[in-house]
Amino acid sequence: MPLSLLKPFAPSIRFTLSIRRTLHALIATGLLAPCLVRAAQPRLTIGFSQVGAESAWRTAETESIKSEGAKRGVTLKFSDAQGRQENQIKALRSFIAQKVDAIILAPVVETGWEPVLRDAKRAKIPVVLVDRGVKVSDESLFATLIASDFIAEGRMAAEWLAKKAGGKARIVELQGTPGAAPAIDRKKGFEAGLASEPGMRIIASQSGDFRRANGKEVMEALIKKHGSEITAVYAHNDDMAIGAIQAIEESGRKPGSDVIVLSIDGVRGAFEAMVAGKLNCTVECNPLLGPLAFDAAEKAVSGAALPKKTIVPDRVFDQSTAKSVIASRQY
């Protein structure tokens, strides 16, 4: 009977009829199947220290790691640091004390990790970093870093635009918050991508603060100044591009055809705008790091060698692919 199969999983809830019924249903629908298959292997215990839940992107990342952990039958110990490094260090120390098999860390800042990472190394617990790096004197203190390459995203956007515009464009750039890493690197990458294209010129570059309202406000002002000279808009995130699209429409031009609009992130709103023909392209910055993070953690636990940096493959989506992909977008 299914009950005997459940024994190792639910010692405390074995007698709760309603929960038992739910589990039966879950098994029947195959949702618990991966757990059952993996029951033979020793279950890994992995600690995950997350920065917080400040954006939809971050929530999607947390969700991806949690669901991948459940899928692989890993016992995941989750800790939300609410944006504070001391909370993350505390969480890491508690993971070490609990003798977890591996730690996944999304560090809030780059510095100050040396002592706690040294403790983890002494306890032979591999640490996998996700989405941001750390500055340490000894690279062996962490197993690998899994992150998107913002510079590459900027370069991919530039290459796509150069191809689309046939090497000739007058571009307005809407930057993110001044000083933020994605804003700096997406600008740098975009400029590098345009370096070999003399016909592609950035005629204005202003900050829209990663916000929809500011994207619109800045675009309104720049349209008044440059008018129909503008042939393309490159925004550091989707929200600003959506704001800019509204400003372009209000000026009487057609975003998507009169003015090429492209952005980075690949949130749902961007796909909707592409299906409507108003946004031309978005470069995805993938928050779904779960599978890669657990692959790395499992490899590190088994003692296999890992590259120091694993780049999350970011993809370019344009109007031709948007329609077929939109239904499968999770964030």
Binding site: F210, A213, K216, A221, K225, G269
Partner: protein, 339 residues
């Protein structure tokens, strides 16, 4: 020789003089340095140009600063207006998306929620005797969370024609937001200058205890101004959401409370309370928006843009200080005398 009372003539006329000079100087700078800044044309039956953008984008801070002026006049401050904007936008957008209620009800509900939020601030200040900056800080933090809760953490987008008109429509060839701001200003000015309310506010700001001893219902007046500030913020939130056809709960109105306070201060109302000038606050809001648009226009790198902004605002504030002006006029003849 009947000399006019120095306080009255000095603060009311003087308070408007310097922000007006600041605004004119900014516009004059643009006349010289940015061609096309004053270019206006008729497009699709309405006026189109940079100046119109400034007026249109400036309405949010104008609306906020109306309520903020009255709150500051009583010696308080309202930090929660940015979050209340987000709440109002989220409430209206979620109702419009569901499409169950007529639009009038949506607006009324959204403004009622904003008024309640303001009333909550007022209760904390009046009955719990929490300092205004702390009392309103509570809602500044919690309000954004409430807005996220209402919108379910999503950016709610809508295409409802009535709601979109609020922030994008035109009336008499000008953005409808201007009509809205003018109506709000007119109503506020009437209530504070044609009724005794203005006098009550100033007396509370000058000396609350004395005002109470004179028979002013200080608690009731203060409750009213915080609720009024909430309604103004709600209106600004509706305009902001309508403008981008979306309620962005996590970012709408973020840091706008500071712009509103700045507009009030630049407009010549002091943070210690007492005398206030609604027109001054409007000028302050326009200065801030003109500055922002000017900097976009000049193509200054965004990382250094806050510096010129700070310089202009600082000089307007300094010129309003009688002590500073006195020192300036002393500084000039002095070298002559000592030489």
């Amino acid at each position: 020789m009947s000399k006019p009372s120095p306080i009255r003539s000095g603060s009311r006329a003087g308070s408007l003089l310097w922000p007006a000079i600041g605004l004119v100087a900014l516009l004059a700078g643009n006349l010289v340095f940015s061609p096309g800044f004053f270019h206006l044309e008729i497009r699709d039956g309405h006026v189109y140009g940079t100046l119109i953008d400034i007026l249109n984008q400036g309405t949010r801070v104008m609306l906020l600063s109306l309520g903020m002026t009255l709150v500051i006049a009583t010696g308080g401050v309202d930090l929660s207006v940015g979050s209340v904007m987000a709440v109002a936008g989220a409430v209206a957008a979620s109702m419009v998306v569901r499409g169950s209620a007529p639009f009038g009800v949506v607006i009324a509900a959204s403004l009622a929620v904003s008024a309640l939020a303001g009333l909550l601030n007022g209760c904390l200040v009046v009955y719990a005797r929490i300092q205004p900056i702390v009392a309103t800080l509570i809602l500044m933090v919690a309000g954004r969370g409430a807005a996220m809760l209402v919108a379910d953490g999503q950016i709610l987008t809508f295409e409802h024609p009535g709601f979109v008109f609020l922030g994008n429509g035109h009336f008499l060839g000008m953005p409808f937001t201007l009509t809205l701001a003018a109506l709000a200003l007119g109503a506020t000015a009437w209530a504070t200058r044609r009724t005794a309310l203005g006098l009550f506010l100033e007396s509370i700001g000058d000396n609350e205890r004395a005002a109470r001893f004179c028979g002013v219902e200080t608690s009731r007046v203060k409750l009213f101004v915080y609720a009024f500030s909430g309604v103004c913020a709600g209106l600004a939130g509706l305009v902001a959401a309508s403008n981008i056809k979306a309620a962005d709960s996590s970012r709408a109105g973020e840091m706008l409370e500071l712009d509103a306070i700045l507009a009030v201060v630049v407009g010549g109302t002091t943070l210690t309370g007492g005398r206030f000038s609604l027109i001054g606050s409007m000028l302050g809001a326009l200065i801030i928006q003109t500055l922002t648009t000017t900097l976009y226009n000049w193509g200054l790198p965004p990382a250094v843009a806050p510096v010129p902004k700070a310089i202009v605002i600082l000089s307007v504030c300094l010129m309003q200080s009688p002590q500073f002006r006195e020192r300036l006029s002393f500084a000039r003849p002095q070298p002559k005398g000592s030489a």
